[in-house]
């Protein structure tokens, strides 16, 4: 891998990490309203999968979608303003952390739901011969939703060009996957006639490689594909989660395999510091801009409810 590519990937991953940590601070200081689901520890799956996609492809994501959003758009200002509830946010403060939109990028707060919506999007892309594929990020928790089974069944029956990028972070909120998932993940895909692979690596470049293979399969064959990505969130499920359901020892073990630290170790210190400073400055500028931005004019609150 060329050094410049490594630096670029590191910058994307660091941006997500620093963004999420800053969001947590803003919550602690009472500057944010509501809740948020950070993806600290899962930066490599977000950046790895998105790197394998074309800009005209379509992405759907979940309640834990900041990393996917930043990897897709790089729009720190729009995301920060959205989470801070400002009119300048990507959804004008209506959606907040878990309901985000950008061009060809959609998230919603219902577990599993967007995997099914994404399946329909993939069928539309196929029908219109756009050549685009859809990538739906889902989590291990979504496998317990019947809707996902229904949609994957249709995806296989109707040859939908969709990549289900399943981030298995071992926990559906506080409940370990061993308590929520009978059988296995890959056998589910097998039963539906859907190709699949599992990546158990903290190396973002291995994730990119597996994602590129999966994306190529989906695009070439116009078929669905399930890519299981083993990962771990170092933070709680949401801002109000003390992680009482798992040991610090378990977390420490995973911390030793922090994908961001692993990549950082392979970079020149000066390069790294320059990237980190640039990311932090972007985030601070976004916060400053959002603080100054107004909330949406109340006179506009009904706009977009009915399209004409």
């Amino acid at each position: 891998m060329a050094t410049c590519a490594k630096l670029d990937i590191y910058e994307q991953m660091y941006l997500i990490r620093a963004f999420e940590e800053r969001i947590a601070e803003l919550f602690t200081r009472g500057e944010l309203f509501g809740t948020t689901h950070p993806c600290i520890g899962q930066e490599a799956t977000a950046v790895g999968v998105v790197t394998a996609l074309e800009p005209t492809d379509v992405v759907t994501s979940t309640h834990r979608g900041h990393g996917h959003f930043l990897a897709w758009t790089g729009d720190v200002k729009g995301l920060m303003a959205e989470i801070m509830g400002r009119a300048t946010g990507v959804c004008a403060g209506r959606g907040g952390s878990q309901h985000l939109y950008a061009e060809n990028f959609y998230t919603n707060g219902i577990t599993g739901g967007m995997g099914a919506v994404g399946t329909g999007m993939a069928l539309a892309e196929k029908q219109q011969e756009s050549g685009n594929i859809v990538c739906s990020f889902i989590g291990d928790g979504a496998l317990a939703q019947g809707i996902l089974h229904e949609a994957m069944n249709m995806a296989s029956l109707w040859n939908a060009p969709i990549l289900y990028a399943l981030e298995n972070n071992l926990y559906a909120m506080s409940t370990h996957v061993r308590d929520t998932l009978a059988g296995g993940i890959v056998p589910r895909a097998d039963a539906l006639g859907i190709e699949s692979a599992t990546v158990e690596s903290e190396d973002v470049f291995e994730i990119i490689e597996a994602s590129e293979k999966a994306v190529e399969y989906v695009r070439e064959n116009c078929r669905p594909y399930l890519l299981e990505l083993r990962t771990y969130r170092f933070c709680g499920h949401s801002i109000n989660d003390e992680r009482a359901y798992r040991t610090r020892e378990e977390e420490d073990e995973w911390r030793k395999r922090d994908p961001l630290a692993l990549l950082a170790g392979a970079l020149d210190g000066a390069d790294r510091r320059e990237i980190e400073g640039r990311c932090q400055a972007r985030i601070e500028r976004a916060i400053a801009a959002a603080r100054k931005a107004p909330v949406q004019d109340l006179g506009d609150i009904g706009k977009g409810l009915w399209k004409s």
Partner: protein
């Protein structure tokens, strides 16, 4: 010539949209030939338009989710729920997905999705195949609920729903499939308000002041008409019947304007009494035009019971012609 029923009119509307708009797709359980749908509405269409109708697995939630995705990315899908009752299986997809996207994304996207739902009883299908579940969706901002009657042009209505950039749940009274669609009547002057979702206005006062305003929708209209015709002939009570096709969001101006003239209001629906459409209409009229009422409004509804299968039991639970006549008596005696 075969008579034009509401069912045939809907089929004609679907055929026209399939012919005119290549982005229109029909998805549903058993909708392709030779079956043509549980109520045979789509019969012939899959042969006429190869590839444009898709038989789906028995996955109502999945079907609405997938079509929502199709609608977000440039197609105009139409879902047929085999029975409207099954819409409960797709509640999350309608309420938390289809109805939310446009507003939630600050107007950046559209969801031109239609879900056709055969609703209503009187065919002996029992507790899970006879309900009027549109009531569960009426209070979802961003979801349009449209219901044809035999006094509407159902082909135009389904066409308007397909052209609509918003998600539409299209309520088809099962009993209306075989009912003749006619916009003229020997008993009533019939007018229509603004398209694309007009209210049908039926008046038998022959230029005089009607005595009572009756508001209803969908499969209750023929029952209301029959009751009000008998009432006119036997008791000389003239009425203005208002049947909006767009039942949510509801424009109450027409209703208020009529009530301001008649002073009396009856609202009829087939669904159970509590928390229903009729209750909302009464509340709105009382709030805004209460001082024009000369009698307390009366609701005609089903009972707060599940729908039984046996005919006499079902008849007991659902409102019929006599229920409407009883309501007229009640509102006129005050």
């Amino acid at each position: 010539m075969e008579k034009l029923t509401v069912g045939r009119a809907i089929a004609a509307g679907l055929r026209k949209k399939l012919a005119d708009d290549p982005t229109v797709y029909l998805l549903g359980e058993d909708i392709c030939d030779p079956y043509g749908g549980a109520f045979r509405i789509t019969r012939g269409l899959s042969s006429e338009f190869p590839g444009r109708l898709i038989n789906v697995p028995i996955s109502e939630a999945g079907t609405v989710a997938v079509t929502t995705g199709m609608a977000l990315r440039g197609l105009r899908p139409v879902v047929e729920m085999m029975f409207g009752d099954f819409i409960a299986l797709a509640a999350d997809q309608l309420i938390n997905h289809a109805a939310k996207f446009s507003w939630m994304y600050n107007g950046a996207v559209s969801v031109p999705l239609v879900v056709r739902a055969p609703m209503g009883g009187r065919r002996g299908y029992g507790p899970t195949h006879s309900q009027s579940l549109e009531r569960m969706l009426l209070s979802t901002p961003g979801l349009r609920i449209v219901a044809p009657t035999p006094r509407h042009d159902a082909a135009a209505l389904i066409g308007a729903a397909i052209d609509d950039p918003n998600p539409v749940v299209f309520i088809e009274g099962k009993l209306l499939y075989a009912a003749e669609q006619a916009t003229v009547s020997e008993h009533y002057d019939i007018a229509h308000t603004h398209p694309p979702y007009p209210a049908a206005v039926l008046n038998n006062a022959a230029g005089e002041q009607p005595n009572v305003t009756v508001v209803t929708y969908g499969p209750m209209l023929p029952i209301v008409e029959e009751a009000m015709t008998a009432t006119f002939n036997e008791d000389e009570v003239a009425c203005e019947i208002l049947a909006p096709s767009e039942i949510a969001p509801l424009d109450t101006a027409l209703i208020g304007e009529s009530v301001a003239r008649t002073g009396r209001l009856i609202v009829a629906e087939e669904g159970p009494r509590s928390w229903g459409w009729a209750a909302e209409v009464v509340a709105r009229v009382v709030e805004r035009w209460g001082d024009r009422l000369v009698a307390r409004p009366v609701r005609v509804t089903g009972r707060d019971l599940p729908l039984p299968t046996a005919r006499p039991l079902e008849d007991h639970v659902l409102p019929g012609v006599e229920t409407v006549r009883g309501a007229v008596e009640k509102v006129m005696l005050q």
